[in-house]
Amino acid sequence: MQEELINLRNEAIAQISGSKDSGELEELRAAYLGRNGKFTLLVKKIKDVPADQRKTFGITLNESKVAIENLISDKKQALLKSLSEKRDWFDLTMPGFKPSLGHLHPLTQVLSEVNKIFNYLGYQVADGPEIETDYYNFEALNIPKDHPSRDTQMTFYVDTKGTGLKPLETILRTQTSAMQGRVMKLGKPPFRVLVPGRNFRYEQVDASHGFEFWQVEGFVVDENIHLTDLFGTIKYVLGELFGKEVKTRFATTNFPFVEPGVDTYLECTICKGKGCSFCKGTGWSEIMPAGMIHPNVLKMAGIDTKKWNGFAFAIGLSRIVNLRYQIKDLRTLTTPDMRILSQF
């Protein structure tokens, strides 16, 4: 028996020393020390050993088991160390496989950012009709028929034959501001509303004009809203979109639905204010018309102007996308060409 044990130990040591990897080592551990391992079986046979040799046998068996256990763990460490210290040529520049992933449109990406910024400020998103009435698009915004400011928003008229819609009163909306009247008329203040969407204006198409473009209208109505809140909101939003260091400046303007009226200029992100073809040499880009909501607009929507007032603004989403990605031709956004789309 003692001899058998010694042979077994030698065999185990030889196999362990000669093993090539940790998997083989684990198999050897199971073969010798596992539940049905050779040493384990020997333990069961201890009763067959003559009584006078039993003690010596027992000691040798235990020593062997410990020695083999240690050998396995030393060998394991040695194998890991040799792997760890291995220095073969390995090409880290080998490209990965190309994923079959598509691309989100830049308008979607920027709009998601805009929505997130405003959600954080407590604005809710509204979505409204693009086939709109003259009333909500103009009159409810204090722009009566024949008002000269309609010149800047030349309008598409919808052929209403056979539709039940009113001729001449049914148009494609020229501004997302059309939703001010709709939301205010049906809802109750206070409001913090954001309306992203597509608008239509009769324009001949060129690099900087399109007859379809995207805007995000926003407005707030509450009991104590100030012009400084409008300035603060615009600065915050543009800072989030273009970085806190971006420069903005405000100018007076006139839209019939605001008083006082505000225009926002953003330092051209392309030339950093030096003047380039993108900003027509001015160094500034007109980006966000705004103002305090005109009392007539609130009154027409049934809001008590003694209690409530507010501000409104419109973000030229197409323009922000263009500034963000330095796109010079507006038509780029509506051209479904993979050479364009795969860049985003």
Partner: protein, 656 residues
Amino acid sequence: MLIPISWLKEYVEIKLPLKDLMWKMTEAGLTCETAKKVGGEVIMDVEVTANRPDWMSILGVAREVAAIQGLKVKEPKIGNMPSQTANFPIDLMPDYRLFERWTGIVIKGISIAPSPEWLKERIVSMGHTPINNVIDITNYVMYELGIPMHAFDYDEIYGQVMNLQLSAGGEKFTSVDGIEYTLPKDAMIIKDAERLIDLAGIKGGLNSGIKETTKNIFLHVTIDNPVFVRRTSLAMGLRSDASAVYERGPDKGGTLKSLTRAVNLILDLAGGEVASKLIDLKEKDYEPTKMMLGFDKLEKILGIKIPDSDTVRILSSLNLSPKAVKTGVRCVIPTYRGDLKIEEDLTEEVARLYGYNRFPATMPEGRVSDEKIPYFFDDTLILTIKSLLVSCGYSEAKNLSLISKDLIEKFGLNPAKHFRIENPVSTEYEYMRTTLIPGLVAAVKINSADNLKLFEVDKVYLKSAKGADERYRVAGIYTAGSFRDFKTAIDLFSSRLNIDGYSVEFETDKPYLHASNAGSIKAAGSVIGEFGEVDPMVLGSLEIRGKVYCFEFDLDSLAGLSKFKTFSAIPINPAQVEDLTLTFPPKTKIGEVLKLITGASKLIADAELKDTYEDSYTFRIWYQDPEKTLTNEETGKLRKIVLEAVRSKFGGIPKD
């Protein structure tokens, strides 16, 4: 509006460097982005907003430039109206709905001649060609003071009568520059005893115009109804300096001053004498009005307290004669500031000259409403769908909503079911789309890639009983070849959005889809979308080669059917997995087979189609009992159930 600097300097000193002045003007609302050097003159180009007729004049701009710099404006020397020396009759028939004020006078014995150099230069600097002394003076005074005026040849006013009226439509009219027009209805016109002699507010007539031989003139300054001027000018596509001023509603209180200025200049440069009484027809007197600006209101709107003394100084610089009282400032609004109607308008005056860029930035206080707003829009589903499609390799396109009749017809659709635009920019963009598919299919042409995957999520515009039904859709096209790869995205809609009872119908009413290789998707009893191969005839008409698969789903339907998922705990016991290969007769619906296998027993946790080869299909099946590990015997029983069901329903038999 062009502003020659040397002319501006006649009324106001310019202390700021030009670039700074231009920005200050822009900040104050008189947008001035460019200034050009023309000859020895620098000419600013200002954009005048619709509310400021007074800025349509050099003097008006000078007033603003003075206010910005805290200076006083030097008014031009108008002089007094010279006295009358003769009595040439003239009979004006007013209509106050058309001309709110009509101020005029006759001058006799003038000599028409070229203008002196200084006057010619002024006219040239405004971008016009000098004509003669009288016409140049009328233009000069309009540019200077901001109200259009017109000179008639007195001897060409037949019967010495001027009848102001609206056109009936269809009248022929030849303007001073010799162009013949056919008038629309409701243009304001002046007729003498026999002829149409003036298209009021827009252009004078050739017949009554100033000629080299003209000796006597009738000169008038009128305040024309802005609505009629605007409608006529839009209808005729005819804009003039005068119509641009009238649309904004010029100073009703200023006609007399303008007339006096022009008469004095004419007597000076063309000779002659005043030969009639001064005529000044008006329904009422136009006087400055009073308005109060409360300090509280000012602070409430602006958000800061502007020192009362600053408020008074600013209002004074704008000639609003402010008088501070306890609660605010009493102002007197000159007649040329018709834009100042309510207190809010005065707050803007204070804010803009105080300087918008001096204001601090604050954030709104107040409540965030816990109620959903009307028209509330939740874009969660759209974003989920977009990210699903992007992960399937589809890229997002944005197409125009306006399409051509040609494209509609190529897709076999009926243009009459589409909303049409009355005044399209071109026939390319005349109709509103009712499906997103045509735009996406057309994109195949501009892409060279033969494995194109594009999608779009946007609105379509349907005619409905209530007028217009605008619905969001998601659509995609696929040219990469394999139907199963194309089908992946469609299957994801049901599995990831968790839509129950999702079935494929072998029918579709979409004329642009292939007769057999396309169908629709039904859920909860109604069709929610279509998918399949685009009809080769449609592709041929667009000169697109190869196969194009497409799909389109209605988003509201998807949103209504999409349910929250219920989590299933990870089973403690392992599943038994096996592959079964079966053969089927032709035209077997493998999708239905798979549904049958999955539903054959509660103990079948999942099944999928692993492989296909000719008529044989390999299904991988997961047998699983949540309570225990299934024995081989139990799995065998389940296999039997599956095989029996597939055989009896579809005639599928195991392949050995």
